[in-house]
């Protein structure tokens, strides 16, 4: 059984069937890619995993326990972090503070009443954040206000915020969308390194086939809310159904 099990998940928005009978099993330690045309329901699926949306029917279990109905912060505390399609960061705070918040959340849990402790005294947290910023090549931007950075940097920051929590499962929603080629390659390198060094299980949604084929151990193709194919990358490449799904849907 996989670390993440999705069984018969359905989700409707009014008359639109966004997810139809989704079954998916993510093996621990693998990188599982989900591809599919725009509007296929990929982001919706992730939303069902992090407590943003509740599926109409079906079950989602993480490490054997159901996570349906849990609050977003509870799901994160179980070890699931997500990078959003449009970066969600603390835009008025500095890069350093952004990562630090994630670090505190991991160490202290979802609430800590410590109004009189000083941030300056938290050496461990500072060291950890500093190291994380080095790992993602952002050490020089530690004092930059998050809002002032490029889209690529914001995304990298968001990734750092997720990684510093050492999640058991990392969900990435189009992590390279809007990035320049060089940035995309850096991201691939970074994710590869994470995979090799830390063995974090990842679910990655991606449009860029170069990214998908460089990283994924397994690929699921989603079309109109339903998985149509699931296989290893080498087999996916020549699959007819995949080509149909892409040719039929709007390709970015």
């Amino acid at each position: 059984m996989g670390i993440l099990e999705i069984n018969n998940v359905n989700k409707r928005f009014g008359g639109l069937q966004a997810l139809g009978d989704v079954n998916l099993s993510v093996e621990e330690g693998t990188v599982h890619a989900i591809i599919g045309p725009n509007g296929a329901g990929k982001s919706t699926l992730l939303n069902c995993l992090i407590g943003k949306l509740l599926p109409d029917t079906g079950t989602v279990t993480f490490e054997g326990r159901s996570i349906l109905g849990l609050k977003p912060h509870q799901i994160n505390q179980l070890g699931i972090s997500r990078v959003f399609q449009t970066p969600e960061i603390f835009s008025t705070l500095s890069v350093f503070e952004n990562v630090m918040i994630a670090c505190f959340a991991k160490r202290d849990g979802s609430f800590q009443l410590n109004p009189l402790t000083s941030i300056r005294g938290e050496r461990d947290i500072h060291d950890k954040v500093e190291q994380m910023l080095l790992d993602v090549n952002m050490a020089d931007k530690r004092n930059a206000i998050a809002a002032s950075m490029s889209r690529g940097d914001k995304r990298r920051l968001e990734m750092a915020m997720c990684l510093v929590q050492d999640p058991k499962l990392l969900l990435l929603d189009e992590p390279t969308a809007g990035m320049a080629r060089a940035d995309t390659n850096n991201t691939i390198e970074l994710l590869k390194e994470i995979e090799e060094k830390r063995g974090i299980t990842m679910v990655i949604i991606e449009h860029d086939m170069h990214v998908v084929f460089s990283l994924a151990n397994k690929i699921t193709v989603l079309a109109q809310g339903t998985p149509i194919v699931e296989d290893v990358p080498s087999k996916i490449k020549g699959n007819l159904k995949v080509q149909e799904a892409y040719l039929g849907g709007a390709h970015e």
């Binding site: 960061i89 603390f90 800590q112 300056r120 004092n143």
Partner: protein, 399 residues
């Protein structure tokens, strides 16, 4: 020092110095000069500077730091005052039990109100707090004042009567005091044409203000304060990062409620009276103005804003036509009358007009409030380019 970094220690010492020297600083004009009108260094006003400073500093933790705009904080001010006066009625005129109860009762009261209001955010939160405060006002004004159960003494206001039990009074003083030190005791120091007043009540208020300011500073620099700022910026991200925003906002609400309670308790400690009008929505609006005027989210902004507004309220409102005529008496009669006519609407009862205009100017040209203005001037003078000294700087590792 005090667990603060260098810059913060400097700010803190600065606030202490200004506070302790206030009787001098606020009395720059000789007693007999025409400008003595503008002296603010008399006990009653100086006490108000401190008390409303506390109120605004606490309000800033909720509004400036967390981004929740409460329109009902005067309710806590009022509850704090009522609690204190009850202690005077039941125990004695010692202010310590009174202030302790003020903080405790407002803590519980704000816990209940915050629990309900924080189910919503943005404008809906503001409206809910406003509704609660107006309900509290109505309750204090009429509902909780009837012959069988008189908690607030309605229109007249709650006060201490000779027939009250005052179980612990013994032979203690008949006015509010701190273990015998009477609040209205004032020593006057005459230096040449100046007269400086040192009032016990003011220094008691100053002590509480400094402690309150210190705690606010520590909150600003704590992980807890960082989470509050994160809530203001992006609550969604905070939740997906594993943090539960609800207890954080509730804690911020209760802390700021307790600050308001302390302020209310001190108001009663300086003058053992509590009336419902203290809870009116205009009073709630005033603390919003103070915070924005001084600089929301900054450390000393709320103190400046509180001082600014209280100064205007007390000084400008006292300037009447007679005073204006004496100022311009050297001019020809027609010019004198003309000037008085022009200025008349802006002073005396019209002080709100002046304040309103200044508020508009500041919000339009200095969105960061007086602190923002101060920083810009400072940058001009020193030629440096730094942001407000007390907006939270990026954390550096401990030395």
């Amino acid at each position: 020092m005090f667990g603060l970094d260098k810059a913060d220690t400097r700010t803190f010492l600065f606030v202490i110095a200004i506070t302790l020297l206030a009787p001098f600083i606020l009395n720059p004009f000789p007693t007999d000069s025409a400008l003595a009108q503008f002296n603010g260094g008399y006990p009653d006003l100086m006490q108000r500077f401190m008390i409303f400073g506390i109120f605004a500093v606490g309000f800033n933790i909720l509004f400036g730091l967390t981004g929740y705009l409460s329109f009902g904080h005067a309710a806590f001010l009022g509850v704090g005052s009522y609690a204190a006066v009850w202690m005077f009625k039941l125990l004695s005129f010692n202010i310590i039990p009174a202030i302790a109860l003020s903080i405790l009762v407002t803590g519980l009261f704000s816990l209940a109100i915050g629990y309900i209001c924080l189910r919503r955010s943005g404008i809906y939160f503001s409206i809910l707090t406003l509704a609660f405060a107006q309900m509290s006002f109505a309750m204090a004004y009429s509902v909780l004042s009837n012959p069988s159960f008189n908690l607030t003494n309605g229109e007249t206001g709650l006060q201490v009567y000779a027939s009250d039990p005052q179980y612990l009074k013994g032979s203690g003083p008949d006015i509010t005091h701190l273990f015998g030190l009477e609040m209205n005791a004032t020593k006057t120091l005459e230096v040449g044409a100046w007269a400086f007043q040192f009032n016990t009540g003011f220094y008691v208020c100053a002590f509480f203000m400094i402690v309150a300011f210190y705690i606010a500073m520590r909150i600003f620099r704590s992980p807890f304060g960082l989470m509050l700022r994160a809530i203001k910026t992006n609550q969604t991200r905070l939740n997906y990062t594993g943090l539960n925003s609800r207890p954080y906002t509730l804690a911020a609400f209760v802390i700021s409620g307790m600050y308001a309670g302390l302020a209310g308790g001190l108001l009663a400690a300086m003058d053992p009276l509590a009336g419902a009008e203290r809870m009116q929505w205009t009073a709630s609006g005033e603390v919003v103005l103070m915070t924005i005027l001084g600089g929301a989210g900054t450390l000393i902004g709320p103190l400046l804003g509180a001082g600014f507004i209280k100064y205007f309220e007390n000084i400008f409102s006292k300037i009447n036509d007679n005073v204006l005529h004496t100022w311009f008496s050297l001019m020809p009669e027609s010019i004198e009358n003309f000037l008085v006519t022009i200025i008349h609407p802006f002073v005396g009862k019209g002080w709100h007009l002046t304040l309103g205009l200044m508020f508009m100017l500041i919000v339009i040209f200095l969105p960061g409030g007086l602190v923002d203005g101060g920083t810009r001037i400072w940058n001009k003078i020193t030629g440096r380019n730094r942001t407000s000294p007390d907006v939270v700087a990026s954390p550096k590792p401990a030395e």
